[in-house]
C-alpha cells in the first residue's frame, strides 16, 4: 500500500467527541421513570414524531411502565401486538411466580417471561437509548429500574424490491437493492447459503449513525483486503453518510484519479458474483448502491449478463465494449487530428467530401468539436434532471435545434454531428456508469491534445494514460491485472470469457486461499 491519503492520517476520534450531541451530567438512566421520559422528550426537543406512552401493568397495576418509539420508523402492528398487548393485557392476567420476582428485577422478568419479541436488548445509558430509539426500536422503561429495554420493532415503508434503474438486463434476475440495509443483506444471504458468508456491521457518521456492512466469504476473500477495508472504514470521521459515495471517497485508493478504483452496483447478482470471486462488498444503509473492492480495470467492461449468455456471444460483446471504450474516448480527437494535421490519412474521396462540408464553417475543427461535445453534454445533463413529462422536449430541442438547424445554418459540419453521435452512443455501451464518466472527461483532454499535436498528442496521451492506469491499485491489487502484471491463468475470464468447463478458478489477483470454483468434465455429450 504505497498510496496513503491524508484522511487516513487523521487521528482516531475519541468517543467523547463523537457523542457530544447528547450532553448531560449523567448519561445513565435513573430509577425515576418520569425523569427518564422527560429527559428523552427534552433531548429530542419534543419532536412530534416521538410517541411516549405511560401505563400501569401487572395484576394490581403495580408496575409503572413507559414505552417510547418514533412514529414512522416502527411497525405499529408489532408494537401493538407484542408489546402493548403483552404488557397491558397478558401481564395483568398472568400470575407471576413470586420467586421469579425475588430473583430477578422486573426488567428481567419482562424480558425473559413476558415479551414475545425477538430482538430485545438491555440498555443502560442514554446514548444507547437514543441510538436504538432513533433506529426504530421501541424503548421500554420501568419505574424503579435504572435500565431500559430496546425491542426490535423496526418497520417502515420502503420502496420494495424493484428492477434497478441504472443497470437493466435482458437476461438475468430483475431484483435490485433497496434503501434498506436489512433487505439488501437478505438479498445477498438468500443467494449464498454458506456459513462462511460473513456480514460485519458498524455505524458510521457522527450524526446519521448509518449502518455500514461489510460482506465477504471468509477464506475466499483475502484476509489482507478485509483488514484493509476495516482499517480504512475505521479512519472515517464524518458527520453524515447519506450514500455509499460518501464512503467511496474516503475508501478508494486514488481519489484524484479520473478512473474509478471502486465499483458500485445496485444488482445483487453482480455483488454475489463479485463476493464469490473473493471481493468484499460494502453495503450502506439508505442507498441501493453497494460498493465492491478491490476492483480492476477490466471489471468495468464485464457485465453480469456475460455469464448468463453463451460464452462466445459474451466474448464478442466484451470485445465490442472495449472497442466502444476507445471509440468514445478517441473518435472526436481522432477526427480533429486527421482533418487538421494528417489529411494524408483520409482517403481522397472522403477528404474531398469532408472538405466540401466544411466550406463555410466558421470555426476551426477543434473548436467545432468542442462546441458540439459540450452542447451534447449539456443536453445529456439536462435530460437526467428533467421531469419525465417534459423529457421529450429535450430530445426535440437536441435533435432539431442543435443537430439539424446548426448544420443548415452552416455552423457545424454534418460530419461533426456524426462524430459526436458515434461518440455518445459508444459511451452508453459502457456497463459501468462511473467508468463512462471518466471517459467523458478524458475525451476532452484528448481533444485538446489532438488539436495541439495531432496524432502524436493522442498517442502520447494514451501512453500517459496507460502509465497512470498501471500505476493505480485498488486495495493492493494492481488496477490493470490480469493484463499487467500478466496472469495467463486469469485470461480465461478477462478480455474474453471462456466456458466454465474443466477446472475453473477464482481470479488469482483477488482471491484468498480457496482457489477452485468447480471441476467439470470438459466435453459432455
Amino acid at each position: 500500500m504505497s498510496y496513503k491519503k491524508l484522511s487516513y492520517k487523521k487521528k482516531q476520534p475519541n468517543s467523547n467527541q463523537k457523542n457530544e450531541v447528547i450532553k448531560s451530567s449523567g448519561n445513565s438512566l435513573t430509577q425515576d421513570l418520569k425523569e427518564n421520559l422527560e429527559r428523552i422528550q427534552e433531548t429530542l426537543g419534543n419532536s412530534s414524531d416521538i410517541v411516549v406512552r405511560e401505563f400501569y401493568a401487572g395484576k394490581y397495576g403495580q408496575m409503572h411502565i413507559g414505552i417510547v418509539y418514533v412514529d414512522g420508523l416502527i411497525d405499529k402492528n408489532i408494537v401493538q401486538r407484542f408489546i402493548l398487548e403483552a404488557l397491558m393485557l397478558n401481564l395483568r392476567e398472568a400470575e407471576l411466580d413470586s420467586t421469579v420476582f425475588l430473583q430477578e428485577n422486573e426488567l428481567q422478568v419482562l424480558k425473559k417471561a413476558v415479551l414475545p419479541a425477538g430482538e430485545v436488548k438491555e440498555i443502560v445509558d442514554f446514548n444507547e437509548l437514543f441510538l436504538h430509539l432513533l433506529s426504530g426500536d421501541t424503548i421500554v422503561i420501568i419505574n424503579g429500574v435504572s435500565r431500559g429495554m430496546a425491542i426490535g420493532t423496526k418497520g417502515w415503508t420502503d420502496r420494495g424490491i424493484e428492477e434497478p434503474g441504472s443497470e437493466s438486463v435482458v437476461r438475468g434476475p430483475r431484483d435490485g437493492f433497496t434503501e434498506t440495509l436489512r433487505t439488501n443483506t437478505a438479498l445477498l444471504r438468500r443467494r449464498i447459503r454458506d456459513p462462511n458468508f460473513w456480514i460485519e456491521t458498524r455505524r458510521l457518521g457522527r450524526r446519521t449513525k448509518t449502518d455500514v456492512s461489510i460482506a465477504y466469504i471468509k477464506g475466499v476473500a483475502s484476509d489482507r483486503v478485509v483488514q484493509e477495508v476495516h482499517r480504512r472504514l475505521d479512519s472515517i470521521d464524518i458527520d453524515a453518510v447519506l450514500e455509499s459515495g460518501y464512503i467511496e471517497e474516503f475508501v478508494q485508493d486514488a481519489p484524484y484519479s479520473l478512473f474509478p478504483t471502486i465499483y458500485n452496483t445496485e444488482r445483487p447478482d453482480k455483488v454475489v458474483s463479485a463476493i464469490l470471486e473473493g471481493r468484499v462488498a460494502i453495503l450502506v444503509d439508505g442507498t441501493p448502491f453497494v460498493l465492491l473492492v478491490p476492483v480492476v480495470f477490466i471489471q468495468f467492461f464485464q457485465a453480469s449478463e456475460d455469464y448468463y449468455h453463451r460464452f462466445d456471444i459474451s466474448t464478442l460483446i466484451r470485445l465490442l465494449r472495449f472497442m466502444c471504450f476507445f471509440l468514445a474516448l478517441l473518435v472526436p480527437s481522432f477526427y480533429v487530428a486527421a482533418t487538421t494535421f494528417h489529411q494524408e490519412m483520409i482517403p481522397t474521396t472522403l477528404l474531398v467530401s469532408i472538405a466540401a462540408q466544411r466550406e463555410g464553417v466558421p470555426f476551426p475543427a477543434a473548436v467545432e468539436a468542442l462546441l458540439m461535445e459540450i452542447s451534447f453534454e449539456i443536453l445529456r445533463e439536462a435530460g437526467i434532471r428533467l421531469p419525465r413529462a417534459v423529457g421529450s422536449a429535450i430530445s426535440i430541442v437536441g435533435a432539431l435545434v442543435l443537430g439539424e438547424a446548426a448544420v443548415r445554418a452552416g455552423i457545424v459540419s454534418p460530419a461533426m454531428v456524426i462524430v459526436v453521435s458515434v461518440t455518445a452512443i459508444s459511451n452508453f455501451v459502457s456497463p459501468a456508469f462511473n467508468m463512462a464518466m471518466s471517459i467523458r472527461i478524458l475525451r476532452f483532454l484528448f481533444l485538446i491534445l489532438a488539436s495541439t499535436f495531432g496524432l502524436f498528442g493522442i498517442v502520447l496521451g494514451l501512453i500517459a494514460m496507460v502509465l497512470h492506469l498501471c500505476g493505480l491499485s485498488s486495495f493492493g491489487v494492481p488496477y490493470m491485472s490480469p493484463m499487467a502484471p500478466l496472469i495467463m491463468q486469469d485470461q480465461k475470464d478477462a478480455m474474453v470469457r471462456l466456458p466454465r468447463f474443466g477446472v475453473f478458478k477464482r481470479p488469482n489477483f483477488i482471491r484468498g486461499n480457496d482457489a477452485v470454483r468447480g471441476r467439470n468434465p470438459g466435453n459432455r455429450k
Binding site: 494524408e344 467530401s353 466540401a356 463555410g360 464553417v361 476551426p364 477543434a366 485538446i448 491534445l449
Partner: protein, 399 residues
C-alpha cells in the same frame, strides 16, 4: 510540494497547448491538389497544379455551374520554388499529399528527370503512391487542364484509366516513384514511363461546355511506353512494342492477342495469365539473356475455319499464338537495343546471378546490351473456348 509540482507541470503543459497548433492546417485553408504537371520553361520549370474544388465534387452541394478542378500554374528556378509561387494565384495553400498522378512534359523528360525525382522523394508531403506519366507531343499543363466525364477529376480519370488499361489491355505500365527511382539508379536497368497524349484541343477541353456533349471533343488518352536512358527520355515504343515489353517483364495481366489462323481468318485470344522468367548468364565471356514466358488464355473471338472442338487444332492455335507473342517481344527488345537502353533489366539479372562477372560488365553495359543476344521462348496454353465451341457461321456452312 507535490501540489506545487503538479501546478508547474500543468502550467508548462498549458503554455504548450495555448501556443500550440503550429502544424495545424484547417481543411478550408487547403487546396487539395490531385495532380501536378511539370514542364520545362527556359532554365527552370513550369509547374501546373490541378486543385480539387470540393464543393463541386461533393454529391450534395455540387451545382454543375463551376469547374470541378482549378488549374494553377507558375514558373520557378526549381520545382519547389515554382510550387510555392502558386500561392500568388491560389487563395489556399496547395496540399500535395493527395495527388494521384504526376505528369512530366516531353521536353522536360528529354532533358532529364533526376532533379524532379529528388524533389518528389524529399518533400514529406508527397506520398509515394502516385503514378508518374510522360506527356507525349504535348505539355503536361495541357493534359491536366482538360476536363473529363464519368470521373469529374481529370487526375482520377488518368490514374484509373492507367490502372484499368494496365489490367485489361496491358500495353501500359503504371510506374510509381519507388520503381522509377530504383530503375534509374540501377546500373543494369533503365526506366520506362507510360505516355499520355491529348486528342483534340486543350483549350476547348478545359471548358465546361465540352462536358455537355456525349462525345468529348478533347480527351486524354493513355499511350505507349516512353523509354528512358538513365533519366532521359530517348524514345517511344509503339503499341506492339509496349505489349512486347510487358510480355517480357511478365507484366501482362490480361490482354487480347489476335493470331492468323493456320487455315486463314483471324482469331482473338484473351490472355489471362502470364509468367515470365528472365535469366542472364555469361557464356564464353559473353553475356546472354533468356526470356521464358508461359501464358494461358481463352478464345474470345474466332473468324477462322478451324474446328475448335478438335484438340489438335487448338494446339495449332497455341503455336500461332506463341509465334505472335515471340514476335512482339523481339520487336520490343530490338527497339530497346536500338535505343541503347536496357529497360528489361537484363543487366540487373546478371548482377543478381553473377555479381562477380557483373563488376566487369557494369562499365560497358550499354554497349554490351546493344549486342546482347536474347533467347526468347513462349509456351502458350489455350484453356477454354468460351460459351460456344465453333462459330455459328462455321456450323452453318458445315451443314
Amino acid at each position: 510540494m507535490k501540489k506545487g509540482m503538479a501546478l508547474i507541470i500543468t502550467l508548462i503543459m498549458l503554455t504548450n497547448f495555448l501556443t500550440g497548433c503550429w502544424s495545424k492546417r484547417e481543411l478550408n485553408e487547403l487546396a487539395i491538389a490531385s495532380a501536378i504537371g511539370i514542364d520545362k520553361s527556359g532554365d527552370g520549370y513550369q509547374v501546373t497544379v490541378e486543385v480539387i474544388n470540393p464543393s463541386e465534387i461533393s454529391a450534395e452541394k455540387g451545382t454543375g455551374q463551376r469547374s470541378p478542378v482549378v488549374i494553377f500554374s507558375a514558373t520557378g528556378k526549381t520545382v519547389f520554388e515554382a510550387l510555392r509561387r502558386i500561392t500568388l494565384e491560389s487563395p489556399r495553400r496547395v496540399y500535395l499529399s493527395h495527388i494521384r498522378v504526376v505528369v512530366l512534359g516531353e521536353e522536360l523528360a528529354r532533358d532529364g528527370i533526376a532533379k524532379i525525382i529528388d524533389f518528389l522523394s524529399r518533400d514529406s508531403e508527397f506520398r509515394i503512391d502516385f503514378y508518374i506519366l510522360a506527356a507525349k507531343n504535348t505539355k503536361a499543363e495541357s493534359v491536366l487542364k482538360v476536363l473529363t466525364q464519368l470521373e469529374k477529376i481529370p487526375a482520377n480519370k488518368i490514374a484509373q484509366g492507367l490502372e484499368i488499361s494496365e489490367k485489361s489491355w496491358s500495353s501500359t505500365h503504371a510506374v510509381k516513384l519507388d520503381e522509377l527511382t530504383n530503375d534509374f539508379t540501377s546500373d543494369g536497368k533503365n526506366p520506362v514511363l507510360t505516355g499520355i497524349t491529348l486528342s483534340g484541343n486543350a483549350d476547348t477541353g478545359m471548358t465546361l461546355e465540352n462536358l455537355k456533349s456525349s462525345k468529348l471533343s478533347s480527351i486524354q488518352r493513355i499511350g505507349n511506353l516512353a523509354v528512358f536512358k538513365k533519366d532521359r527520355l530517348v524514345g517511344w515504343l509503339s503499341e506492339e512494342e509496349s505489349l512486347g515489353y510487358n510480355y517480357v517483364m511478365g507484366n501482362v495481366k490480361s490482354t487480347i492477342t489476335t493470331v492468323e489462323c493456320p487455315g486463314g481468318g483471324k482469331l482473338s485470344v484473351e490472355v489471362l495469365r502470364t509468367k515470365s522468367n528472365i535469366k542472364g548468364k555469361i557464356e564464353n565471356g559473353k553475356p546472354k539473356a533468356k526470356v521464358e514466358l508461359s501464358m494461358e488464355g481463352n478464345i474470345g473471338e474466332s473468324e477462322c475455319d478451324l474446328d475448335l472442338t478438335k484438340p489438335e487444332n487448338i494446339r495449332q492455335i497455341e503455336d500461332a499464338l506463341e509465334e505472335v507473342v515471340k514476335e512482339k517481344k523481339k520487336l520490343a527488345i530490338g527497339k530497346a537495343q536500338n535505343l541503347g537502353s536496357d529497360i528489361f533489366g537484363f543487366g540487373e539479372t546478371i548482377r543478381r546471378e553473377n555479381p562477380k562477372a557483373w563488376k566487369e560488365l557494369k562499365e560497358k553495359w550499354n554497349e554490351e546490351f546493344e549486342r546482347l543476344s536474347v533467347d526468347v521462348s513462349v509456351d502458350a496454353k489455350i484453356r477454354r473456348t468460351g460459351t460456344i465451341t465453333n462459330s455459328p457461321e462455321q456450323t452453318k456452312s458445315k451443314k
